[in-house]
Symmetry: C2
Subunit: 503 residues, 2 copies
């Protein structure tokens, strides 16, 4: 006797498994947060095995035959609610993708991640790419293998891009970075030949506690909910979420360089608002997760750059900041402060780059990754290729590997295809912000008054509440009426820097 | 074809499952620690489901038929190493015990814990036992049911005691508390009729940071490894372990009552030294876990009372403490400080009780639990029974339920059989400390010089390194040549308080 389960029962069973796997992954996130923020040194080794156990159990749940059958069965049911249907579609997509990787492959790449990461650490200590190269090369071979396991139409790199940004492809990125390559150097040249701005006041001594307190003020003003989150210190700032009701940010303080803490807090705050704005009733399900890395980055960069490096924002906050740092800032006018924080200058380190040169850093990594995956470039060529591209696009040369090819951890983690989402985030942010200003005529006035909640609500309504319902492109079209369009960013940047550099 | 697996392979498989379950339980401990120490308020609900998922997965692993068969098979193998054999024996014991509870029962008691706990919170708010009574009664019925599921020889309460202190029984405790009841009141009477000591200087204002700093000094001196642990603040002090390489303590600060922080830090430090001293190579296995709650408590109380409330300890530390609090303590001699910290006074609240009256508090709970489990006492009788016993043993009467029967959370959690381990811990501590002094003739001099590492090493060698290899009684016999013996505590207490109160 074969009794057919009701769709409601089937969906409940699917939901239970999916949410249990999310519980495991969120528990991992708590352990990961603790590891970066509070864990004592000797805890490292055992923490590693605890994280591995949680990850493998979650993976088992989400790749079991039973789970796959459930999803197949549900996908054929016509009587699911809209949200349910979309969750099932997305989970089935994830399942099919997960199933393409064998358990042995997942194990191999996990082990290689650890080996590559250790080699990366070691090579940075000794400032020698050659120590990293063999382990990085093994990772690259595994990623090529992964691309062919996933399958692709025209380009192996497409298969990897898809993991971070569904729908992104070499075709799309070649077109976007083609525009970048053509238009951004023109702007950069104008800036270079203009009167330079002064940002030396950032290097005065800014006491830690006051930096911290002001960052807390700004997070509060952004509408970051401290009853559903907290800020801590860590070596590298990050945002992590255990549920929309518990989303945490971290920051770091350099007492002799104020330019780092503040915008990193706003940046992470932007990520955190997205996570806090995801629908709690979809906890653990696709509709309860962020759309993509690019969209995530659009939220952090919109707050960091479009808002936090904007004139209006400081109209309200600069007097407040001056109260925290009367000695350090009494001879710095708001105009000088605004210009200083937006100084554009080609440099070697991506994470310290300004809004304009940043995209050259990303493009360089994109071109290298594409070359590696398509077989046009090999591991041993990396330092030379790296330096060649930096010379070509930014006219700077790394003095050593540490400030060159060894600066990012991403490849050690196997994250090929991740970098482009940083630029996509900025470009989407420009489009979203432009749209927000269109729809909210008082936006700039509100920001100038320190009233940021309207923008947060707009982003909730337009982006956060949908989770993974739409791809980045669909979401962008739905919000702005068109897909990704570099010219909006270009226009924003041109206008902003023309004002600052006077051209 | 039935190929027999080698014992090495079988043991490896057993070890893997057991350690994976430990990974889950330790991950739960991290989540629990975070919940008490750093979690924002709104995180509570989802954290609850995450903890439930981790617990149920660990439970599934450790109660699966396959795991049971593995253990049975291993138990029959003659070619295991000593440690391996003992791990298998203990895991099989745990397995058989776990299997006696049905999944439905485990679920029911988990839910009742939450219901009872909420009712307890509510009843404390309104200071009314009647709010708590119905939910507590349900818990009591479940615990009776649990006792009969476990099975027992003469007394249902025995089955519950065994969970916290293997081998403990009503027979043993009736005998111990029989001695307590007979001998301790004699001491208490002598103290009551002597000249009372003054401890009012504890109620001066002691700034938070200095309290914290001194507690860190003391933890360091005890040999608590801060590279394998950390101290944080929480509402109720506790110790938690994620592995011997990551064992954390918490404390709390009351600026207007210095008597709380310091000894709670030493107490938790004692627990933490035990956990840090467990053998890391037995991670997740029975030989890597503490022997029992009574032995755990022996470690915390030995450090808190035998060391931390002793004269020698302050010979070294009091000048140091006076430097932290020059104004607060400049008119308090070391003698007065020593007497003040050891003031004996019958009171209503267990957690604030001194070393002498503490055991009356425990005995009262023991008698009540025994009565409830054996059907001699009923939930609705609790307030009356409670007050009757407090009057009888300590000549004090609670003015309300909050300072009476509602003061402890244990019963809400279903922890019947837990309280007696507090007294057992003190009694074992007296025996261990006496033995340590015998074996280390310089012990008191060392302590007077602030040299505490010798004692830590002695405890590592005698207690910590063995994990669960021996029961409490076996361990006590092995260390001291005899089992639990209240007269050692009695002798210690008589000598100490005769000195303080001059009789």
């Amino acid at each position: 006797m074969n009794i057919q389960k009701s769709s409601a029962d089937l969906y409940a069973a699917y939901k239970e498994t999916t949410q249990k796997a999310a519980d495991l992954n969120n528990a991992s996130a708590v352990l990961g947060w603790d590891q970066e923020v509070y864990m004592p040194a000797k805890g490292f080794e055992v923490r590693g095995r605890q994280l591995a156990t949680l990850a493998s159990l979650a993976h088992e749940m989400l790749t079991s035959e039973a789970y796959g059958n459930q999803l197949q069965e549900l996908a054929g049911r016509g009587d699911l609610a809209d949200d349910e249907k979309r969750n099932v579609e997305l989970s089935l997509e994830d399942y099919n993708k997960n199933k393409k990787l064998s358990a042995a492959f997942v194990e191999a790449i996990t082990q290689q991640t650890s080996a590559s990461y250790n080699a990366w650490i070691q090579s940075r200590k000794e400032n020698k790419f050659s120590i990293y190269a063999p382990e990085l090369d093994k990772m690259i071979q595994l990623k090529k293998q992964q691309a062919s396991m996933y399958g692709y139409e025209s380009n192996p790199y497409d298969a990897l891009l898809d993991e971070y940004e569904k729908g992104a492809s070499v075709a799309l990125l070649d077109s976007v970075f083609g525009d970048v390559k053509q238009q951004l150097p023109v702007l950069l040249d104008k800036i270079k030949t203009a009167q330079q701005v002064n940002d030396s006041f950032f290097l005065r001594n800014y006491p830690k506690q006051a930096q911290w307190d002001f960052s807390m003020d700004v997070l509060r003003a952004m509408g970051y909910d401290f009853e559903a989150g907290r800020q801590d210190m860590s070596e590298h700032p990050f945002t992590t979420s255990f549920a929309p009701t518990d989303v945490r940010v971290t920051t770091r303080v350099d007492e002799n360089n104020y330019s780092s803490l503040l915008w990193s807090s706003i940046h992470e705050g932007g990520h955190a608002l997205y996570e806090q704005g995801l629908p709690i009733e979809q906890y653990g399900l696709p509709l309860g997760a962020a759309a993509s890395l690019g969209i995530h980055e659009s939220q952090s960069r919109l707050w960091e750059n479009n808002v936090g490096r904007g004139k209006q924002f400081w109209h309200h906050f600069y007097p407040n900041l001056q109260q925290y740092f009367p000695q350090q800032l009494n001879d710095v006018s708001i105009e000088a402060f605004y210009k200083g924080m937006n100084k554009v200058e080609p440099s070697l380190i991506r994470t310290e780059a300004d809004e304009v040169t940043y995209h050259f850093h990303v493009m360089i990594r994109y071109e290298i990754e594409k070359g590696l995956m398509n077989g046009d470039l090999f591991t041993e060529d990396l330092p030379e290729a790296w330096n060649g591209l930096y010379n070509k696009y930014l006219c700077v040369s790394a003095q050593d590997d540490k400030t060159g090819v060894l600066q990012d951890v991403h490849w050690a983690h196997g994250s090929f295809g991740y970098f482009p989402t940083y630029s996509l985030g900025s470009f989407y942010a420009a489009q979203f912000y432009q749209q927000a200003a269109k729809e909210m005529p008082t936006l700039t006035d509100d920001i100038a008054n320190g009233t940021l909640l309207g923008l947060r609500e707009w982003l909730r309504g337009k982006v956060h509440q949908y989770g993974r319902r739409y791809t980045s492109e669909e979401l962008c079209k739905q919000i702005t009426g068109m897909g990704l369009d570099f010219k909006v960013f270009m226009q924003y940047a041109h206008e902003k820097y023309a004002g600052i550099y006077g051209f």
